[in-house]
Symmetry: C2
Subunit: 481 residues, 2 copies
């Protein structure tokens, strides 16, 4: 008998769910390993991980300027051979200059940085925010993190004070939120997004969730917004953001804005919560918006950067009490610091080559190429879904995902129940077994009762896999109709 069993470990860990990397993902890894060992018994020759926004695992190439700089940071001895770099390896002078500048401010990328990040990198981020938003940003309120996930973890750990703390979370949501709230034994107060309005926020839905939780005695402290949405792709119009901030100001809620998909926008325009908040404050001097506490997060993992494996990100705090910031600082210091090479990548993301810089042309070309490629793949996948019986999907708006609704025949629902699965899980499992394509059942993101969805990235190249989904779906429907 082991000392630790399922019954005795931390019940909060046991209760946490994380479908993005759950049973389906594990099975897809097993298939991959089997294929790599030459197994020919499977009905497919390739596994496609459409379950996770992992661009460079599929087709996306890293941006040359970023990686050239990183290579010099990893081996600064190369800077002693500047002529070789430039004449034989095609490094431009701005690559060399940026590497020198970063090394001057960072020291070795093998050393711990200050707990909240390298000061010079925090200054670069502040400049980027000022330029993006048209309002000043203070480097002292910026914290580098190991991807946005680690930032969310820090913030929820600080905010959640026990089982009675409630956090408003959009549904469907990226399961990091519900999983972290499980770990902290705090309450997820779900509010539903409006599928019929392109998954926009519905203030009525937010208010009624909030009122209900309050009536149940829950201490609701914070509202999470994912914009652009994951898994929905929705990019919120400015009036939605104003509405959320107004609600937060009146109800005294901390606002947590997950903005990691801010450059993955096909329809409309990205509005940052910080910019809209500062506008509201400017329009209403001394008004209710002055007291809002806003945390906003960004990452190198998504957008045209797509460098998930480097675990880089940051969050900015606005309006937080200094005592609370001191505790945020202490929390991040316990994990010492974010990966330093990832911090450098954040600097490159927020301060890329500009027009006229030697590396600019190639940077622009690569960046635009990735953007166009994502848009085209999203459109192709969307077109395929449009032809599928019982599948409905709004036009692609952004992020890296489509999140179609599926209507499954009763026989399929019964077969799922017989296996102890939800119908969407059952569907996704059969899809994986038949095609090697791994997507995530909508239940992993939570959803309105009685509705079924799945989330797929549109990152995989080519159209063959789209065809496989169409073919599988037809056969599945024929079988269970």
């Amino acid at each position: 008998m082991t000392r630790l069993t399922l019954d005795t470990i931390n019940p909060n860990v046991r209760a946490a769910k994380y479908a993005v990397r759950g049973e389906l993902a594990v099975k897809s890894e097993e298939y991959k390993a089997a294929l790599a060992k030459g197994d020919t018994s499977l009905p497919f020759s390739q596994v496609i991980n459409a379950n996770i926004g992992n661009p460079q695992q599929l087709d996306q190439k890293p941006i040359t300027f970023f990686r050239q700089v990183l290579s010099l940071l990893e081996n600064p001895q190369l800077l002693e051979k500047e002529d070789v770099l430039i004449n034989h390896l095609g490094y431009k002078t701005d690559v060399v200059e940026r590497a020198k500048w970063l090394l001057k401010h960072v020291g070795s990328v093998g050393a711990y940085s200050a707990s909240s990040g390298v000061p010079a990198i925090k200054e670069s981020i502040a400049k980027f925010l000022e330029k993006r938003d048209g309002f000043p940003a203070n480097p002292a309120n910026i914290y580098l993190s190991a991807g946005a996930s680690s930032g969310v973890n820090t913030l929820l750990n600080t905010i959640c004070a026990g089982p009675n703390t409630g956090i408003l979370v959009p549904i469907p949501q990226y399961p990091l939120y519900t999983a972290t709230l499980s770990l902290l034994n705090a309450k997820c107060v779900p509010y539903y997004l409006e599928e019929s309005k392109n998954w926009g926020t519905d203030l009525g839905a937010i208010r009624s969730s909030y009122e209900k939780a309050k009536a149940d005695g829950v201490d609701v402290r914070c509202i999470v917004i994912i914009n652009p949405g994951n898994p929905t792709g929705a990019s919120l119009p400015e009036e939605d953001i104003r509405g959320v901030l107004d609600f937060a100001a009146k109800e005294n809620l901390v606002v947590m804005a997950d903005e990691v998909y801010q450059t993955n926008v096909f329809v409309g325009k990205f509005h940052s919560f910080k910019a809209v908040l500062r506008s509201l404050q400017k329009e209403n001097p001394g008004g209710i918006y002055d007291g809002i506490e806003l945390a906003s997060l960004h990452s190198v993992s998504k957008g045209m950067v797509g460098e998930c494996g480097h675990r880089g990100g940051y969050f900015e705090l606005v309006g937080f009490h200094p005592d609370v910031e001191a505790n945020v600082y202490k929390f991040v210091s316990i994990m010492l610091c974010a990966p330093v090479i990832g911090q450098c990548l954040v600097e490159l993301m927020v301060n890329p080559p500009r027009p006229g810089d030697p590396s600019y042309e190639l940077y622009r070309q690569e960046y635009d190429g990735i953007f166009q490629g994502l848009r085209e793949r999203a459109a192709a996948l969307h077109a395929a879904f449009s032809d599928m019986e019982g599948v409905e999907c709004g036009p692609p708006q952004g992020s890296m995902y489509l999140f179609p609704t599926i209507k499954l025949p009763q026989k399929a629902v019964d077969a799922a129940a017989a296996e102890g699965r939800t119908p969407d899980e059952f569907y996704c499992m059969r899809l994986l077994e038949a095609t090697g394509i791994c997507v995530v059942p909508g239940s992993g993101f939570w959803q309105k009762e009685g509705t079924l969805h799945f989330r797929t990235t549109f990152l995989a190249p080519g159209t063959e896999w789209t065809g496989s989904i169409v073919k599988f779906h037809k056969e599945f429907m024929d079988k269970y109709r």
Copy 2:
């Protein structure tokens, strides 16, 4: 009034203490910034961060082989110019081969890996463990982590089931343990190490702490050992490890072995808990040792590698129940994966150049040079302490630290109390203000009542700073005698 205040945030975060990066560290950063801006009003011209084991911040150079490989992983386009690498940049063929091998198995370092790490890297670690211990290791039980800290966080999160869970922690200890237990609202059950026996484990002390906690109704589940010790530097003899494993087997305790300083050993020999456990199991077939659950941790941050900023590490689980491992896996998957370039650095650490490889000579020379340098500095610092009034310090044994006892005059104790500080904190603050040298008061690691210590690294180059400590100490003692 902000929504979040010191009184309303997570009380576990508020209660956590982390002295290694606390008030003194923050003040040292302020001094650094002032010096960088040309401030000449301070009585020193340089800040020396002897508060944290951060080799590359001070003098330690990264190992060339490691960084050459990493530069190619960051920019694989360089591999298209192999002749330039070899003929103009001094890269050896084994550097190129290793980079190709890693890229083949990792894919892009910008992609998320599998949650528990890249399979091929886990296989390399298993081979290293087999060679080190003489017993097999299973890659399936190895988990890559963002430094050992993140591994400790994962393990304690899984093990601690609430306020009644107790974890035996050596005192003095690295404060990651007490801080994480605070965050989890679990109980630290301290057991004192024996300063008079070179800070070895004292089974009597372990047993009496354990019995006392048990009598108080605490569910003591796990014993943490830091070997070689932090902050003590002690390297445990095999009989101490056997004693701990025997105690753990009889009392059914999980063993967590923090072995990040396994190569920083000046006196005696490093014995891994895994090797000693397997030996015990072999000697007693079917005996009480078969059921032991052991987690052991390692990292790229310490040793001659010293790559803290890369946040690389791993842990191996032995004897854990598969259901529990599944929950460990889920926990790490919520944070997606350890930084991939850091995972690659783990691979390089466990599989460095071997005799006969083109990079071997330089690797050996760099590795040995770092080791000798650390030993010489430790000896010089120890000699300085020997001459200081009221200071006692055992001979340097390993890790990166000395942890001298200090006896302070009553007037200093009173002055400290008047400032609301512990005497050791007061002493360290005055040291920082007078010399720019930042060390950590012993109270940050906990200590026996009535004893005072401080922890200093011996990483900083030169002897000037040692002289500054001696001079400060004399003046301090003269003032307060």
